[in-house]
């Protein structure tokens, strides 16, 4: 029943440890996590380029 919404940008979604922490907090209902299709594409491109 959290009232906060946070937009997770690509640098939060990758590298993975920060993402895993933030998603765990979201699943615990501390806040609502949101990201866009563009952000999703951006972190995958970053990962693929390494």
């Amino acid at each position: 029943m959290s009232s906060y919404t946070a937009l997770l940008d690509a640098n939060v979604l990758y590298p993975a440890p920060v993402r895993d922490l933030f998603l765990q907090l979201a699943v615990t209902d501390i806040y609502k996590a949101r990201w866009t299709a563009d952000i999703h594409r951006e972190w995958i491109e970053k990962f693929a380029s390494e």
Partner: protein
Amino acid sequence: MATLAHAHRQSAPTAQDASLARISGQRLSRYARRKKPLSLRVAEAGQEQPIELPAGAVALLMDVLEAMAAGRGVTIIPENAELTTVEAASILNVSRPFLIRLLDEKVIPHRRVGKHRRILIDDVMTYKEGIDAEREAVLAQLTAEAQENDMGYGRR
């Protein structure tokens, strides 16, 4: 049938109450872990009155104290309480249209009162436990894969 009007609400505690809750919660936690009825003694005007609490009430009291210690308000809702679509959507952290789709697809049972839909809190919580378990499993898998694929774990 009970409605949310029967819910007992306690808004966010004062700092003083929060610190009281922290201390009493710490003391109570030792006994709450035993999951047995608890006998409290209340001293008043030189007289001691015993109060017996069922194990379930002790567990709930622990939850209440923990929430208050963290500065959060608490609402206790009876299991047979019925929610509106707005209330159910807010508990599930989803939009109202998404919730209505779940109702129409009979993923969550509901009944109609005239033009309005009513949902049992029990059904909402059952659904929530299900998706929470699913999300935990997906996250565990995601983390495991990230570790296997060297996506930031174990490197400096």
